[in-house]
């Protein structure tokens, strides 16, 4: 239960960010009368939004040495994502930071650490920094890590913590949708309702549309999923998840998926689907060898 007082100036900004309306988050970031803390949070959100949009260099160049610690962490994430070649050095500086007790406790640094180690698929290391939570972002990240580890039991525990803090928080709702999707069965419907609520409350984003579409797919309703995804594609023709889900959806409705797949390969060669498809091909060839 959260008792509230006074307006939450960053509410919209955060919501935009969580729901994938990154450009809207950036555009509406000029909020008057913010406290110092709020300003730092705002800047972090804006820069994270830029990262989400893929503008890594902009973030790297905008955040200078003088910026606050959390912002430095955000910059680190940008550097990690911008140059996979140099990730060793990025990770080592991240580790240095984490080792420093004065800054290592900062929620944003821990969040970034969790994110980066998740990319590294080192869930152990990621959880080391994030498991204790403290902010909604951290809890949500934990939920996701546990889902990735196929430990929905742990994810559910995290979610319950979030629900205790603020059941109506956008991240709580999102996280419960993720978990519902991960455990499947009748819960899919609940996930769908959550995305439906979002779509009624907030402007449509391709994240929401994708969420709904994924629910539809899991409920076996591929036609509706396709409609939703095409709508998402209209909003953002390069969104990797939209393309990936369209590939899957097209396969199920018996249409050709190659256009979307090629588009995805071109724009996001590192996407999970592309990687999975590539490894599947190798896998197939290998299996073929055993029969030769």
């Amino acid at each position: 239960m959260a008792s509230m007082a006074g307006p939450d100036h960053l509410f919209n900004l955060r919501n935009h960010f969580y729901l994938g309306a990154y450009q809207a988050a950036i555009n509406n970031s000029e909020i008057p009368n913010l406290s110092q803390e709020d300003i730092v949070e705002r800047d972090c959100l804006v820069h994270r939004a830029y990262i989400a949009l893929g503008s890594y260099q902009l973030v790297i160049s905008e955040i200078d040495e003088a910026a606050a610690t959390p912002l430095q962490a955000v910059k680190l994430l940008a550097m990690y994502l911008a140059s996979p070649g140099n990730k060793e050095s990025t990770i080592s500086s991240l580790r240095e930071w984490l080792a420093d007790p004065t800054v290592g406790n900062n929620a944003i640094i821990r969040l970034i650490a969790g994110t980066i180690f998740m990319h590294e698929e080192d869930y152990n290391e990621a959880l080391k920094h994030t498991h204790s939570g403290g902010t909604m972002d951290l809890h949500a990240l934990n939920v996701q890590i546990f889902i990735k580890m196929h430990r929905s039991d742990y994810a559910e525990k995290q979610l319950r913590v979030m629900q205790q803090i603020d059941e109506d928080h956008t991240l709580t709702q999102l996280a419960s949708a993720w978990l519902n999707l991960a455990v499947g069965g009748s819960k899919i419907q609940e996930a769908y309702l959550i995305f439906q609520d979002f779509s009624e409350k907030y402007p449509m984003t391709s994240l929401i549309l994708n969420g709904k579409a994924v629910c539809c797919m899991h409920m076996g309703n591929f036609e509706e999923a396709e409609t939703l995804l095409l709508e998402a594609l209209n909003k953002d023709a390069k969104d990797p998840e939209t393309l990936a889900n369209l590939v899957v959806c097209s396969l199920h409705v018996g249409k050709s998926s190659s256009r979307y797949l090629n588009q995805l390969k071109l724009s996001h060669p590192d996407h999970v689907l592309v990687k999975r498809a590539a490894s599947a091909e190798d896998n197939f060839e290998r299996a073929l060898q055993s029969f030769a």
């Binding site: 990154y22 998740m118 196929h150 991960a182 998840e241 199920h252 599947a280």
Partner: protein, 1637 residues
């Protein structure tokens, strides 16, 4: 109390409601009678003729009359229409207290201080009766509403009931004389025709008021003793029922409520009290500060009351009548009485949902005020005023429309108002703190938020938003952002109605309607003089609302109007098209159809939907001055034009809209000068000179006309005009025209004729008309004027007009779209319309600009306002943050948590891994990414070796198995496994099989397009399609058995096409080899094709052969073609070929083609393989090949290896189930053998164990016999040897030879023996032989016999004769049906009788997956479960629902029980078990474990129990035993006894041990229990197990090998081991020996 109306005046002593109109009469102490309209709140009239106070007043119920009585002893009867007193009745001798009209007769009853009651006839204006008897002032008297009774109250402390029946009789049968006589009598002697019926004594002081109950025989009275008394009466007596105490001073008036079961009283103690008439308890008290109450009145029809007091009166209601309701899509939830009800608009169905209040609870003002409904959760919030505002939360059960009268335990709590703000969240107002609590459906507080303004009610305002109301404004507040989204100053808002798109909101106050946008930007305000009651938005965005007496509309621009009037108030719930749905005050749903034309029309105008407007003008009846005025006022005169008949108005409108032609038409009709003139002016303005001319002509306005001609240069007409002027003798006009024409001569002439000779002269001379001038000069003589010198005269000539004749360029008049549109519509043209639209377009632009300007200002203003607010709130924010300790705690806690040790949990199993573990279907393995497993499966099942063509399918299946979820920003995407067959009820965390991208229906589609491509001759395309089907099938999964068969059929169909098309394509390549071409064409016709395709193939083969002069062959094709009944031209061609061939039946070349000899075609060499020749086939597609192709990849499907071993296509989980079961059985068996082998190996190796070998000997013999004589595999032979064992081969030999002699092949015999080993020991000569012979004698062919017997060998176990033959027939049918996989046919082809049922039922079971083994035994058996039809289906359904697995024997067992017993029997059985101490759950569990146990007879059960008891088990123990091992109750008493006694008496196990391990009762004594016990005994005797017996369960439940390991083999002493083994094995099978010992 809900005060509806209040007046200030002198003391009010009498009151009366008008029965129909919203009027009330109030008689005052001052002598004035006031007539009020309480609805409008206006004083209609006042009647001031009484002197002194008027105490009684009453309306007549049908005539426009009322009566009054005052302290001036006068009774006056008034006509309120004429505003005057009609007459006065005199007779009373003191103040008159009350007067009342009779409801039927022309009577008035009056009560007076003169101690009498008088009844008057107001028609004859005489007193008809005087009722005497009271001995003090009579304070009140009134007629009974139905009967001939009068009740009166007097200060003599009594209430009297008078019977006036006699009076009525007299009046009803009026003989004038008699009447007059009675009147006289009554006058003289007092009322003999009205007698006192009852005198009610009980009040201690003077009684002020008494009143009848409207329907029941009850009287209520109020007196100066401060009491209200309730009296009851019957035919003979009346008595006091109860006393209501509570008033603190004299009770002035008391009455029964007309509609509710309550009593209302008022008193000089300044209060009104409401009492429950049944329970006689006080319900409510309303006090006034200073005013004593004197009088009460109850409205006869409506729910209204009125009370008069010292300084005026009030009209009030006790309870709100507006039913609480909530709308959701097509349904309405509303509260009525104690129930929540549900109404569906589309069906107009009304039903009760749940009770919301317990019956009999006091109800005054506790009925729900508002309702809020959440459709997704099916939850309802009901708010009422109870306990100063509270709400109740109900969850409507799914199967909602329950009749149950049980009140749900609602979640109830206090709170100002509660409303859903999201699917599963609602907000509750805490008025005291101006806070709102957000709660979830468990009624737990999720969040608290303070509101921006002091709020006294909250309303829904979109998801997550609240509309907060205070006295003078409303705000919309976003609960999450904690921001005010909009704010509006309003009067006190009572109801909030959102439009369905949530874009607009209507705020209803008492007298105001405010329409605003969703951000509370004011759109319009409407004021109503009458109270606004309700409203709803229609589909077009018009707000439809009701006042007390009207249904009205409000357009978005604020225009409003009346739709219709209302008799009674209604509450609109929804507007749908022309129908208004509403609730009335009784809570009934009604649908009112209205004429929406007017407001739709106005709306269309407003929205500039002119097409709409036009069609409405054309099609509907719109008329009336109001509409015209509206149109004119709104600037649409051209539209108004279409409504008007009156020419003058038409003319005006036409001029206004510039429509000249209409104006001309109207002007012609009117033909008045003024109108012509105005027409002329307008025409001139527009430049329409023709009309101007016409108008001037009509008015004969020559001056203007001539000027017009002048400027238009129409000189001809001008000169004509001049002529006219001349004729008319209009000199001036003539002159003017001459001047205009420049005709000097004429001018001179005119001047001359007019006598202006000097002027004429000057004119003439100046213009050089010298001859005339001279002539004039002579006429003038001396008076010739002199011309001024020095000036050159010039002729003034009018300028030549630039344009002559016709109109000027017309002024662009705003041409009505309507005009143009209507006309063009009439003409059917569209050009005009476009023009017109262009015109409007410009206008629109301007409007838009204007709007924008305004909007921007608004936005700026709003932005400024917003900034100011933010400033303020920022300042407060800091303070409040400080007050929140919990947030300070958070970081600390997290820091602690972080330092504590955290262990990352190990990763879970990915779904794909679960899939690949669970599944044995190739497609599912591929989807899971286990390609190698998938390939292995396909290889094993279908012999596929070439997987390259399947690559894309594999990859697609894999790619389609996961969706991708972007979860947290910038973190890796989460792939989620998509499962197949999702349903709402699938449970979470249980993994279903993967969703696959290929399904069978797609293949069907492909097949169709393949057919189409074939028909159109696109063979390459067709081949590609068919091949892709063939390549997809291995990766298709279907659900049912039936579909499996369909898939298998499809393979064959497609294979034929692929082969055929491959040959056809090949043929086309071989242009230079005509022989081969013919052959291939010929073979093609032997592929199994669809008839149209076959025809084409035949046609082509015929053509090819004919061309190659192989006429005989060609004619064969032609004949075959003709057999397919081809289309005409094909048939014609075929006939020609046949004719040609008949003449010359030869073949030019020899083909490798013999159509008489059946053949199949080799799939790779394309040569025929005639019947009898050897071939090999493709294990997958079943294509056939010549033997030398064995080992190659099949050229037809391009997948499988020709001739490879394969187990067959596996494409359905149902197949897998049975196979798995089979596998599992095999596995278990194998494990056992393995165990045996390993455990025995040691012992056998170490010691030469003779006895063991002995035991094995029989078996070994059997095994070797089977292996040798039948060529069975050793394992199979061993398994058979467990069932049947023999030591010499004579009998088996004879059986086998018998079988052989009947034509059974070796493989058939081995399958028979495998299935039915007992046959080997059957009596070959006497039993089997005759049976087989008998079957043969019935005409069974040898092949049929062998096939059927080998399928169901058990048939041979049946008795010979009829039974045998019957079953033989059945099996035959099934086997044949199996082959053609057409089970449906089965039923029809069989003879009638129970067999039919049996067969059908069995095929149903087969579909369900019941194993063959059980099926045939069912078939052969005569027992219940598969007989009957309905019963069977019913039972089957039950058993399936109970969750029995069809592949187990329990399924059949359960079926047997369920079908064998009626529900009643089952119930009895269950009851029996209940009596024995089981609960229903136990019985159910037991039933699931061991279905047959329910089938036991009561006697048997009783016997068993008795047996157990006699053995010393307690009842409880028995129950536990049966629960653990249900079959134990079915064992025979003897066996139970034997086994138990053995264990207890011989082995000394305690009885308890048996009780806790009842399974021992099921173990075979000879085979298991005794041998093991012997071993144990020996061990104990040798002290090797200690003194204790081992636990019963461990000794007996483990398997034999485990037992041996544990008790026998683990001893070092080989001697002992040998001994033990001897004991263990020796006594097996010889129980009797043991018992003898």
């Amino acid at each position: 109390m809900l005060t509806k109306f209040e007046t200030k005046s002198n003391r009010v002593k009498g009151l009366s409601f008008h029965p129909k109109r919203p009027w009330i009469l109030a008689s005052l102490h001052s002598g004035v009678i006031q007539l009020w309209d309480y609805r409008m709140g206006t004083l209609i009239d006042r009647f001031d003729e009484h002197e002194g106070p008027v105490r009684g007043v009453h309306f007549h119920n049908s005539q426009p009359l009322f009566v009054s009585g005052g302290d001036d002893y006068k009774i006056k009867v008034w006509n309120y229409k004429n505003h005057r007193c009609l007459f006065t009745l005199l007779g009373h001798l003191d103040y008159i207290r009350t007067v009342q009209f009779h409801h039927e007769y022309p009577w008035i009853v009056s009560a007076s201080d003169d101690q009498t009651i008088r009844i008057w006839n107001w028609q004859s204006r005489t007193c008809v009766s005087v009722l005497t008897g009271h001995n003090h002032y009579v304070m009140c008297a009134s007629f009974h509403p139905k009967e001939d009774l009068v009740v009166s109250a007097s200060l003599d402390q009594t209430v009297r009931v008078w019977d006036i029946g006699a009076l009525r009789k007299k009046t009803v049968s009026p003989a004038d004389d008699i009447m007059r006589l009675t009147q006289m009598n009554s006058d003289l002697f007092g009322g003999v025709d009205a007698i006192v019926k009852y005198v009610l004594e009980g009040h201690d002081r003077g009684v002020n008021w008494a009143a009848f109950h409207p329907t029941l025989p009850l009287i209520v009275s109020g007196a100066d003793d401060r009491q209200v008394k309730l009296w009851r009466m019957n035919e003979t007596k009346a008595w006091e029922v109860d006393t209501l105490r509570g008033h603190m001073n004299n009770v002035s008036s008391v009455m029964f409520h007309a509609k509710q079961d309550i009593i209302v009283s008022n008193s000089e103690d300044k209060s009104i009290r409401v009492w429950d008439a049944t329970k006689r308890t006080g319900l409510q008290t309303f006090r006034r500060e200073h005013d004593r109450f004197w009088i009460l009145a109850v409205h006869p029809e409506m729910n209204l009351l009125a009370a008069g007091h010292d300084s005026g009166m009030i009209v009030f209601k006790l309870e709100r009548e507006r039913p609480a309701f909530a709308l959701s899509g097509d349904s309405l939830f509303y509260a009525k009485d104690r129930f929540l009800r549900y109404y569906e608009y589309s069906t107009q169905r009304d039903s009760q949902v749940i009770p919301i209040r317990r019956p009999g609870t006091p109800s005054l003002n506790q009925s729900p005020r508002t309702l809020s409904y959440s459709p997704t959760e099916n939850a309802v919030l009901i708010c009422s005023d109870l306990d100063g505002g509270s709400y109740e939360l109900y969850i409507i059960p799914k199967d909602s429309v329950g009749r149950s009268d049980v009140v749900q335990d609602a979640k109830r709590e206090t709170g100002g108002s509660a409303v859903f703000i999201a699917r599963n969240r609602f907000a509750v107002l805490e008025k005291s703190t101006s806070q709102v609590l957000v709660k979830n459906l468990k009624n737990e507080v999720v969040k608290k938020s303070s509101l921006p303004i002091p709020t006294d009610a909250i309303f829904y305002a979109g998801t997550g938003n609240l509309l907060c109301r205070s006295e003078d404004k409303v705000v919309i507040f976003d609960l999450q952002q904690r921001l005010v989204l909009g704010e509006l100053q309003t009067p006190f808002v009572r109801y909030v109605v959102w439009s369905s798109d949530m874009e607009s909101v209507a705020l209803l106050s008492k007298h105001t309607i405010i329409i605003a946008s969703k951000k509370l930007v004011l759109q319009c305000t409407l004021h109503e003089t009458i109270r606004v009651k309700s409203g709803a938005w229609d589909d077009n965005g018009v707000f439809i609302y009701t006042t007390l007496n009207h249904i009205k509309y409000c357009l978005p621009n604020g225009d409003s109007g009346i739709i219709r009037t209302l008799d009674v108030p209604i509450y609109i719930t929804k507007v749908s098209g022309n129908t208004i749905f509403c609730l009335d005050r009784d809570g009934k749903n009604k649908a009112i159809t209205i004429n929406a034309t007017e407001y739709i029309f106005k709306l269309s105008l407003l929205r500039k939907r002119y097409d709409h407007v036009m069609s409405m003008i054309k099609n509907s009846q719109l008329c009336g001055q109001a509409m015209i005025a509206y149109l004119q006022q709104k600037g649409f005169p051209e539209v108004a034009l279409h409504f008007v008949e009156d020419e003058r108005i038409r003319f005006n409108l036409a001029l206004e809209s510039g429509n000249i032609s209409v104006a001309v038409a109207s002007a012609t009709q009117i033909n008045e000068k003024d109108h012509w003139y105005r027409l002329g002016v307008e025409a001139l303005r527009q430049g329409n000179s023709g009309i101007v001319e016409f108008a001037y002509q009509q008015t004969k306005n020559f001056e203007r006309l001539s000027f017009l001609y002048l400027i238009t240069g129409n000189l001809d007409k001008l000169s004509k005009l001049m002529k006219i002027a001349e004729v008319k003798n209009n000199v001036m006009g003539q002159f003017h025209n001459a001047l205009y024409l420049g005709d000097v001569k004429e001018r001179v002439k005119i001047l001359e004729n007019a006598g202006h000779l000097p002027l004429a002269y000057i004119t003439a001379s100046v213009h050089g008309l010298n001859d005339i001038a001279e002539r004039l000069a002579t006429e003038l003589g001396d008076n010739v004027p002199s011309l001024p010198e020095g000036k050159t005269p010039s002729l003034l000539m009018p300028p030549t007009p630039i344009m002559c004749g016709g109109d000027w360029p017309l002024l662009r008049v705003m041409k009505g779209i309507f005009e143009g549109g209507l006309e063009s519509a009439d003409r059917g043209g569209t050009v005009d319309e476009e023009d017109a639209e262009g015109d409007w377009g410009e206008e629109l632009d301007i409007n838009v600009d204007g709007m924008e300007n305004r909007d921007i200002e608004d936005i700026l203003a709003a932005a400024e306002a917003g900034e100011e607010e933010n400033d303020e709130e920022g300042g407060w924010g800091g303070l409040e943050d400080l007050e929140l300790p919990p947030e300070l705690d958070t970081p600390k806690a997290s820091a602690n948590a972080r330092s504590s040790i955290f262990v990352t949990p190990p990763q879970g199993m990915p779904v794909s891994q679960i899939w690949s573990q669970k599944s044995s279907l190739a497609a599912e393995q591929a989807a899971a990414g286990s390609f190698d497993t998938a390939m292995r499966l396909l290889h094993r099942q279908l012999g596929i070796k070439n997987f390259t063509p399947l690559k894309s399918m594999f990859l697609d299946l894999f790619n389609g198995s996961h969706s991708y979820l972007r979860a947290f920003s910038s973190s890796p995407v989460v792939p989620l496994a998509i499962e197949r067959g999702w349903s709402e009820s699938s449970s979470p965390n249980v993994r279903g099989p993967p969703a696959l991208v290929y399904d069978f229906s797609q293949l069907d589609e492909k097949l169709k397009s393949g057919y189409k491509a074939t028909t159109t001759g696109k063979f390459t395309e067709a081949l590609r399609l068919f091949l892709s089907i063939l390549h997809t099938i291995p990766l298709v999964v279907v659900e049912s058995r039936r579909e499996v068969d369909e898939v298998k059929e499809l393979i064959v169909i497609v294979k034929e096409y692929v082969l055929g098309l491959q040959m056809e394509l090949k043929r086309r390549e071989m242009k230079d080899d005509p022989v081969r071409q013919q052959e291939l064409a010929a073979y093609f016709t032997h592929c199994n094709l669809q008839t149209p395709h076959l025809r084409l193939a035949l046609l082509s083969a015929m053509g090819v052969c004919y061309k190659a002069k192989n006429l005989a062959t060609a004619s064969n094709f032609a004949r075959r073609l003709l057999e397919t009944s081809p289309v005409d031209n094909q048939a014609k061609m075929a006939r020609q070929v046949v004719q040609a061939a008949e003449r010359n039946m030869t073949d030019e070349t020899k083909l490798n083609y013999d159509f008489r000899n059946p053949f199949v075609i080799c799939g790779s060499t394309y040569v025929p393989i005639y019947r009898g020749q050897k071939d090999v086939s493709c294990p997958y597609c079943t294509a056939r090949f010549v033997p030398n192709q064995e080992g190659n990849i099949c050229t037809v499907c391009d997948l499988a290896v020709i001739g490879a071993d394969a187990s067959g296509l596996l494409c359905s989980p149902s197949q897998v189930r049975s196979i798995e079961l089979q596998k599992w059985r095999n596995l278990r068996f194998a494990v056992k053998l393995l165990e045996n082998a390993s455990s025995f190996r040691r012992s056998i190796a170490s010691v030469a164990d003779v006895s063991l070998r002995d035991c094995q000997k029989g078996k070994n013999f059997t095994v070797s016999y089977l292996v040798d004589s039948l060529g069975l595999a050793k394992k199979v032979a061993e398994s058979i040897s467990r069932k049947v064992s023999f030591e010499n081969k004579s009998n088996p030999d004879s059986v086998l030879s018998l079988l052989r002699s009947h034509g059974f092949t070796v493989s058939q015999i081995s399958s028979i023996i495998t299935d039915y080993p007992l046959l080997l020991i059957a009596d070959g000569e006497n039993s089997l032989g005759p049976k087989l012979q008998f079957l043969q004698s019935r005409g069974a062919s040898s092949s049929e016999l062998t096939q059927i017997v080998s399928t169901v060998p058990k048939i041979l176990g049946k008795r010979g004769g009829k039974t045998l033959s019957r079953y033989y027939d059945i099996v035959k049918e099934i086997v044949e049906a199996d082959k053609s996989s057409k089970h449906e046919k089965l039923c029809h082809s069989l003879p009638v009788g129970n067999l039919e049922n049996k067969i059908r039922n069995i095929s149903v079971l087969r579909e369900l997956g019941v194993p063959q083994r059980l099926l045939f035994s069912l078939l052969i058996s005569d027992r219940q479960p598969v007989c009957g039809k309905e019963k069977f289906e019913e039972s089957l359904k039950k058993v399936v629902e109970m969750g029995f697995d069809p592949t187990t024997a329990n399924f059949v067992g359960a079926l047997r029980v369920i079908q064998g017993f009626s529900d009643k029997t089952v119930e009895e059985k269950v009851n029996l078990y209940k009596r024995l101490g089981f609960d229903v759950g136990d019985v159910w569990e037991m039933f699931k474990k061991f279905p047959t146990f329910l089938g036991l007879s009561e006697k048997k059960i009783a016997n068993s129990i008795e047996t157990f008891v006699s053995l010393g088990f307690t009842r409880d123990e028995i129950v536990v035993m049966v629960k653990r091992f249900p079959p134990c109750i079915g064992c025979s008493a003897e066996s139970v006894k034997k086994k138990t006694e053995f264990l207890v008496k011989k082995m000394n196990w305690p009885l308890k041990a048996v009780a806790s391990f009842p399974q021992v009762i099921g173990y075979s004594l000879e085979k298991r229990t005794v041998p093991r016990c012997n071993v144990i005994k020996v061990l104990i005797s040798k002290g090797m197990l200690g003194s204790e017996l081992p636990p019963l369960s461990s000794a007996l439940s483990i398997t034999d090998p485990a037992f041996l390991n544990k008790y026998v083999m683990n001893h070092d002493d080989t001697q002992l081991v040998r001994e033990l083994i001897a004991i263990f094995t020796k006594n097996r099978g010889s129980l009797t020996d043991h018992l003898k010992q």
